[in-house]
Symmetry: C2
């Protein structure tokens, strides 16, 4: 029930084509809401039918035309209404934890290797976040309000990855 909201949120940052949006969902918004290009094109069509976004066809030289989507006033109101509604914490869905739950069915070394692999992945993700932080959010207090909100989502990601790193290390030590 929230992909349309994620798309409107991403579009409210700036007007985008479906293609541009798909790339945004592979970074920035994509760090906390995933979507494939097929989902995006389908939803954009529906959003246009409902009048929540408007499309403008842009002719380009040497490249296929593109449809530039913009959030309409109605779309902005629709999004704002959704944001204002209280919601519950999103459920966790994590494969690694499912694996651990039945971890005794395989050799301990396999689990430890998997934990180390994940530790490494979270480390890489964390350093990517840190680079974004240094590049765009060096002085948080000086940011505009909209940037402050984006900054907070990044801070959430940083804390999340740090916590995973700490847990992986704890788990490896505990099992060794």
């Amino acid at each position: 029930m929230a992909l349309i909201h994620a798309i409107l949120s991403a579009l409210s940052e700036r007007a985008c084509s479906g293609y541009d949006l798909a790339k945004q969902f592979d970074g920035s918004v994509g760090f906390f809401w995933k979507a494939t290009h097929q989902q995006i094109y389908r939803e954009l069509t529906r959003l246009e039918e409902k009048g929540l976004v408007s499309a403008e066809i842009i002719s380009q030289e040497g490249r296929p035309d593109k449809k530039l989507y913009r959030v309409t006033e109605r779309g902005r109101k629709f999004l704002a209404d959704w944001i204002a509604q209280p919601s519950s914490m999103s459920p966790v869905k994590d494969e690694l934890l499912v694996k651990l739950f039945a971890g005794h069915l395989v050799e301990k070394g396999i689990i430890i290797a998997e934990l180390e692999r994940h530790r490494h992945q979270h480390l890489e993700r964390l350093s990517a976040y840190r680079q974004i932080e240094q590049k765009y959010f060096a002085d948080p207090q000086a940011l505009d309000l909209d940037e402050k909100f984006r900054y907070l989502t990044l801070r959430n990601g940083i804390g999340y990855e740090q916590e995973w790193l700490a847990w992986c290390s704890e788990a490896i030590a505990f099992l060794s």
Copy 2:
């Protein structure tokens, strides 16, 4: 692609009816993989067709019959093979972060109130986890290997909730 694995993981702990499983998915496994009873009954039927679980009908007095499901040898091997395959970190999917991303569209007070509501929810979840920890995992080093793995999933949940609490507080302070 992992609901069947989550069901097999839960069933590998002990034989269960569909009804029992549905309750387990509302706690323990359910803390990191959600499933409704309809999903569970559907998957159990399929798992039985594939020979990964076997069912035994138990007649009960004063209560409807129940089907007790057990993981078969093939099922155990199927699960173990899946666990041994390396996997990537599970994607995050979080509504609150989507809301924040476009948070400038509503009054700041609405966002702060939402952050406070979430802070409270995470606090409650954390204290539930802490109670489980004290009750069943008071002496972690003394646990059997299978219990150690469950303990680690709980430790993950505790760290996760603590991190969310810290972030909510940081975000509220930052916006105030």
